[in-house]
C-alpha cells in the first residue's frame, strides 16, 4: 500500500519524535554541554512539546498542513540554531507533500527536500559535524533501499541505521559549523548533539511509519 502515509501516520511520527526527544532530553543537553551551550535538549523538547500541543489544539487536515504546522511551530518556539534548521526541514518537507496521503517515493522526496532546506538555511556540508551528518546518509539510504525495491519499513530501518552511523561518525570530526566550531580541535572526540536528535527523528520514523508504507 503506497498511500498510507496519511495525516494520522505523520502525526504519529511527530508524536513519537516528541516522546523520544523528551526521553533523551538530558542526553542531548549533556552532549551540547561538551561542545556547545547546554541547551539542545531543552530547545528540542520545548519545540516538539509545542508542536504536539498545536496538533492537539488544531488538528491539521492533511499531511502538508501537518508538517507545515510543525515547522512553523518550531520556527516560532525554539530559536537557536535548531529552531530555524528543524523548522525549515519540516516546512520544506511540507512543501514537497501534497494534501493527499504520500507514498514511499513522495516521502523520500520530501525528506530530501527537507535536507536541502537545512543546507540552504545553514550552509553546512557533510563532515562539518552537524545534523547533516545524520540526515544526509539517511536520505541516501532511504532512496537507495527504495530504488532496490525494499519495502518501506525496511527502507526506513536502513535510513535510521545510516543516520545512527552518521551520528557516530561525528565523534572524531573537528566541527566547522555551529557552536562546536569555536572549540577548534577540542571539538573532536565528542558526538554532535544535532546529529543525535536527527538520528532520533529517523528512529521515530521506523517506529511510527514502518507499518504505513507500501
Amino acid at each position: 500500500m503506497a498511500d498510507q502515509l496519511d495525516v494520522a501516520a505523520l502525526g504519529a511520527w511527530v508524536r513519537e519524535f516528541a516522546r523520544s526527544i523528551a526521553e533523551h532530553k538530558d542526553e542531548l543537553t549533556a552532549l551540547d554541554s561538551a561542545i556547545g551551550d547546554a541547551d539542545h535538549g531543552a530547545n528540542m523538547d520545548r519545540g516538539m512539546s509545542a508542536a504536539v500541543a498545536a496538533l492537539e489544539a488544531s488538528p491539521p487536515a492533511d499531511p502538508a498542513a501537518l508538517l507545515k504546522q510543525v515547522g512553523m511551530t518550531l520556527v516560532s518556539k525554539v530559536g537557536g540554531a535548531s529552531g530555524p534548521l528543524y523548522g525549515t526541514f519540516f516546512l520544506r518537507m511540507a512543501g514537497a507533500l501534497g494534501p493527499d496521503p504520500a507514498d514511499d517515493q513522495t516521502f523520500a522526496r520530501a525528506l530530501r527536500a527537507g535536507l536541502d532546506g537545512v543546507i540552504a538555511r545553514g550552509k553546512a556540508e557533510p563532515g562539518d559535524k552537524t545534523m547533516l551528518d545524520a540526515l544526509t546518509p539517511a536520505c541516501d539510504a532511504l532512496e537507495a533501499a527504495l530504488a532496490e525495491g525494499q519495502p518501506f519499513g525496511a527502507a526506513l530501518t536502513a535510513a535510521a541505521a545510516a543516520a545512527g552511523e552518521g551520528r557516530d561518525a561525528t565523534v572524531p570530526l573537528v566541527a566547522r559549523k555551529g557552536r562546536a566550531s569555536y572549540l577548534g580541535e577540542r571539538s573532536a572526540g565528542h558526538q554532535d548533539p544535532g546529529a543525535t536528535s536527527t538520528a532520533l527523528l529517523l528512529d521515530a520514523a521506523v517506529t511510527a511509519l514502518s507499518g504505513s508504507g507500501g
Binding site: 561538551a34 541547551d39 520556527v75 530559536g79 530555524p84 545553514g122 559549523k177 569555536y182 572549540l183
Partner: protein, 333 residues
C-alpha cells in the same frame, strides 16, 4: 544549582517582569519578550533592534533607551530569539527611517534574524539592514567555518550606532558606523569557572581549582585552551596580546578599552584587571581614549572576564560621549 530563580523554565519571563517593574520608562511586550523604549517608534529616527539569548544581562534589554537601542528581543537562556520576536520588535520601532538589526555572529542568531528580515520584507516596506558582529579573536576566522563569535564589541557598537541614530543620521550611515565599529574592534575572554544553565541544572564544564579556560565566549562553551591559573598581570597579557596581534591598534586617536565581567566576577577584580590591561597597552604604545569597566555582557554566573579594544577616531569618540540613558549605560543626560 544555586540560583535566585523559581522554575528554571520561567527564568526569562520572570526576569522580564522584574525589568518591567524596575524600569517603568521602558515598555515590555511580555508575550513577544521584547523590551521597547517607552517612546518607540520615534518618527524619522532609524530604529535599532538587537536581541539574543538571555543570560547576558544587561545586554541587550538593559541597553534599550535614549541613545542606544530602540528594542531588544530576549530569547531563552543562551538561545537566539525567534523570528516572530524580531518581527514584532522591528515593526514596533519603525519610525519611517528604516531599522538596523544588530546581530551577534552565532548560527542561530544569524538564521533567526535572517528569517525575520525575510518576513518583514514580505509583509511591509520597512527597510532593514543587518550588521553582524564577529570580534572574538579566540576563534579562527575562516570562510569554511561559522566564523568568529560576536562578543564585547556588540556593547560598544550598540552605544555608538545608537548615538548615530539618535543624531538623526540615515540608515546607511548608521549601518556604516556599525560596520566600522565591528571592523575596528576585537575581543578575547577567559573563564575561571563554568556557568550553569538553569535548564541544565549543572555546570556546563568542569574546571579544576587550579585551572582556567582561555578563549571562552559568552555561552559557557569551553574555550580554546585550558591552562594553569595565573596572576592577573599574566591573564591580561594572554587576553590583550592576541587582540593586538590581530589588528593594529597603536597610533591614531587611540582605543576604547573595555574590561567586561562575565557575571560571577565582582567589580574589585575587574578594576584590578583593568589596571593590568592598561599597563600592557601602555607598554605596547596603545593610547586609551575612553574606557569601560563592568559587567555589561555576562554569561550567567560565570567567573571571568573579557577584554575588548576598539580603534576610534574623533567621530567615534564624540558618539561615545553622546548622552545615553538606558538601565545599563547612562551618562551625559
Amino acid at each position: 544549582m544555586k540560583k535566585l530563580i523559581n522554575d528554571p523554565a520561567d527564568v526569562v519571563a520572570d526576569a522580564l517582569r522584574g525589568m518591567a517593574a524596575a524600569h517603568p520608562e521602558l515598555r515590555i511586550d511580555h508575550e513577544n519578550r521584547v523590551v521597547f523604549r517607552g517612546d518607540a517608534p520615534r518618527q524619522g529616527k532609524v530604529g535599532l533592534v538587537s536581541g539574543g539569548g538571555s543570560g547576558h544581562e544587561p545586554m541587550h534589554g538593559g541597553f534599550v533607551g535614549m541613545g542606544m537601542l530602540d528594542a531588544a528581543c530576549a530569547g531563552e537562556v543562551f538561545t537566539s530569539p525567534v523570528p516572530d520576536q524580531m518581527v514584532a520588535a522591528t515593526k514596533g520601532v519603525d519610525g519611517g527611517a528604516g531599522v538596523l538589526h544588530v546581530v551577534k555572529n552565532y548560527t542561530g542568531d544569524v538564521m533567526n534574524f535572517e528569517m525575520a528580515a525575510e518576513l518583514v520584507a514580505a509583509e511591509s516596506g520597512t527597510e532593514v539592514v543587518a550588521v553582524v558582529t564577529d570580534d572574538d579573536v579566540a576563534v579562527q576566522d575562516s570562510l569554511y567555518t561559522a566564523g568568529r563569535r560576536g562578543v564585547g564589541v556588540t556593547v560598544l557598537l550598540e552605544k555608538l550606532a545608537g548615538a548615530a541614530a539618535e543624531e538623526g543620521r540615515p540608515l546607511a550611515e548608521v549601518a556604516d558606523v556599525a560596520r566600522t565599529v565591528n571592523a575596528q574592534g576585537r575581543s578575547m575572554g577567559m573563564a575561571l569557572t563554568s556557568c550553569t544553565v538553569p535548564a541544565a541544572g549543572k555546570p556546563t564544564f568542569d574546571l579544576p581549582e587550579d585551572e582556567m579556560e582561555i578563549g571562552v565566549g559568552i555561552h559557557g562553551e569551553p574555550g580554546r585552551r585550558r591552562v594553569k591559573l595565573a596572576p592577573a598581570r599574566e591573564i591580561a597579557e594572554m587576553l590583550v596580546e592576541p587582540v593586538l596581534s590581530d589588528l593594529e591598534f597603536s597610533g591614531g586617536d587611540g582605543v576604547i578599552a573595555f574590561v567586561n565581567g562575565l557575571g560571577g566576577t565582582p567589580l574589585i577584580e575587574l578594576y584590578l584587571m583593568y589596571a593590568e590591561v592598561a599597563r600592557v597597552l601602555e607598554k605596547s604604545g596603545v593610547t586609551v581614549a575612553r574606557s569601560l569597566v563592568g559587567s555589561y555582557m555576562t554569561s550567567l554566573d560565570m567567573a571571568g572576564c573579557s577584554v575588548t579594544l576598539l580603534k576610534v577616531d574623533d567621530d567615534l569618540v564624540r558618539l561615545w560621549d553622546a548622552p545615553v540613558r538606558t538601565p545599563g549605560l547612562r551618562w551625559g543626560v
